[in-house]
Symmetry: C2
Subunit: 333 residues, 2 copies
């Protein structure tokens, strides 16, 4: 199963419920991507924005705001802000990872060049800040600026943790919280803040986003080792090639015997990767139950996300967010 | 002459007058570059920040604020914000340009990798937004967020204008206004805004920064063709190698005969560069007086910068800013 599978109910129910808001977000994104002087900017950005991303993060902002009874229109600006930040990080990630495919299409760095990806990413970052300023809410700006810093910090930490077999599950969690969960958490938090919710409910929604983001990223990392046969729109094996220390690898390394450890040292630390190594890595992870253990952790985080929702008002959107937590893990069912 | 030449009076007088403020800016920069989780961030950023950059832009912010009679401490935050934005763009520029030297030292992308330069740049951008939020001035945030967007736009435009002999002086001016003058203008404007100056004086200072930035960049582009023998801390000939359409090239191309045009097509449009081509390009620019004409334009912009200062209060700092405008052009005297 993948996020593209139309049989997936929670995501579709959210999309249907928020369709009008989402149309406004898409219109705003198209409008603010424009550049008077540099037509390459909308060209590059549109390639990514229109490539069928599911707009999960802006949808979380809209859902949080509406669930909190918000009736204004600032949540549309915030949702677009969140999507701009996300798109900017994707453009930069693809440069950093030297990726070739994203959302089933060639990446922008491959179609144009790394330069365009770096600079258009910078432009979208700047646009995201311009957009959030329009809300006039210093608290909202603070949340999103902090998230941007934590995202970059997580990415840098991932860079230094890669190729290092000593990377612990604790370090992995810090990386994931930064590179993924920070924006999920900020996305729902700003929705609650703009709606003027009491503090404990703002915190609950932020906790939901944090746990949902962690579950989502653990599953993403599992999918990169081919946990499913369904196309996920990017190449599997990328993390292995980039020698990233993701959760299943960390778990397999922890249980490795001397011979297995020598294998991990060669492929991850020394970067000496040969034909059949990815398959052997998969076999080692299977032997030690690393995939199942990682999936169990993703389910734990999904449960934490659901538990956080308890203090929120009874609302159809609360039910959908609840189901969404299970759904992001069910991608590898 | 170069900015590093201690005999240069206007810069030194500014630095001496603002020494206490500047020490506070440097302390704030060091403090905010820190990262709890990713020690590589201060490592990379410090490499660049401590490499002896002259802190010209933050100094402009401090000078503008003090010239306007400002007595608070927000200008220190704004100056640090400006330097963070500048440092982030330098890190990304070096990736885009594949540069090897900056401020007389190997670039971060060479010492670490492109990945670190991209991500640490992103971190500094995010930090700059966190810092500007602390001023609680929406107007200041708006100016700096706009400048960030215009900078990225200018860089993308430069990318698409490179290798294109049809690039006009008008396009060059748009690029320069974006990639350089936007931050000069914002740097002085926020100083005036935080000091609560009347609108016509805010505009005057912005105009000063805009014209100063344009003069500065024209001269930078001339220096890249070896207009002086003094080391400028980066390789000369970089723009030629990157096939950038800077002002002296545009002027030489405009006056080229058929044979000369064939040369420019080969080296700039086709990128077929051979031994001796840079020297021949210099000879063609000399033949058509392209360097002198470009220098004359830089002087015109310096004069515009000076004229803008007329409506500002009489103050020793006004005199220094006035002299600074001549000084940035005198680098190629």
């Amino acid at each position: 199963m993948s996020l593209n599978d139309v049989s997936q109910k929670p995501y579709d129910r959210l999309a249907a419920w928020l369709a009008e808001d989402m149309a406004a977000v898409n219109a705003l994104i198209a409008q603010r991507m424009a550049s008077e002087h540099a037509p390459r900017i909308p060209l590059v950005a549109t390639h990514l924005v229109e490539a069928g991303g599911k707009r999960l993060r802006p949808m979380l902002t809209l859902a949080a705001a509406r669930l909190c009874g918000y009736e204004g229109d600032q949540h549309v600006k915030l949702a677009a802000t969140v999507e701009f930040i996300h798109t900017a990080t994707l453009l930069h990630d693809d440069v950093v990872d030297e990726s070739q495919r994203r959302r089933g299409r060639p990446t922008a760095n491959l179609l144009w060049d790394n330069k365009s990806s770096v600079l258009v990413g910078d432009y979208l970052f700047a646009r995201s800040f311009q957009l959030m300023l329009e809300t006039n809410s210093l608290r909202v700006m603070d949340i999103l600026a902090n998230a941007s810093a934590v995202i970059a910090e997580g990415e840098v930490l991932q860079l230094t943790a890669a190729q290092d077999l000593a990377t612990t599950e604790m370090i992995y969690l810090t990386v994931v919280r930064g590179k993924t969960a920070a924006l999920f958490a900020a996305a729902v938090e700003v929705g609650a803040v703009i709606a003027g919710m009491p503090e404990h409910q703002v915190v609950a929604l932020r906790d939901y986003g944090d746990a949902l983001g962690i579950a989502f990223q653990i599953v993403d990392d599992l999918l990169d080792y081919g946990a499913t046969d369904v196309a996920i729109g990017k190449n599997t094996g990328d993390d292995f090639r980039e020698r990233k220390m993701t959760l299943p690898v960390i778990k397999a390394v922890k249980k490795a015997d001397a011979k297995e450890r020598a294998f991990w040292v060669r492929v991850i630390e020394n970067g000496d990767q040969r034909q059949g190594d990815l398959e052997y890595a998969n076999a080692l992870m299977a032997r030690h139950g690393a995939m199942e253990a990682a999936r169990a952790e993703a389910l734990d985080w999904a449960a934490k996300a659901q538990a956080a929702l308890n203090v929120l008002p009874d609302h159809p959107l609360r039910g959908m967010l609840n189901d969404l937590a299970v759904y992001v893990v069910a991608r590898i069912a």
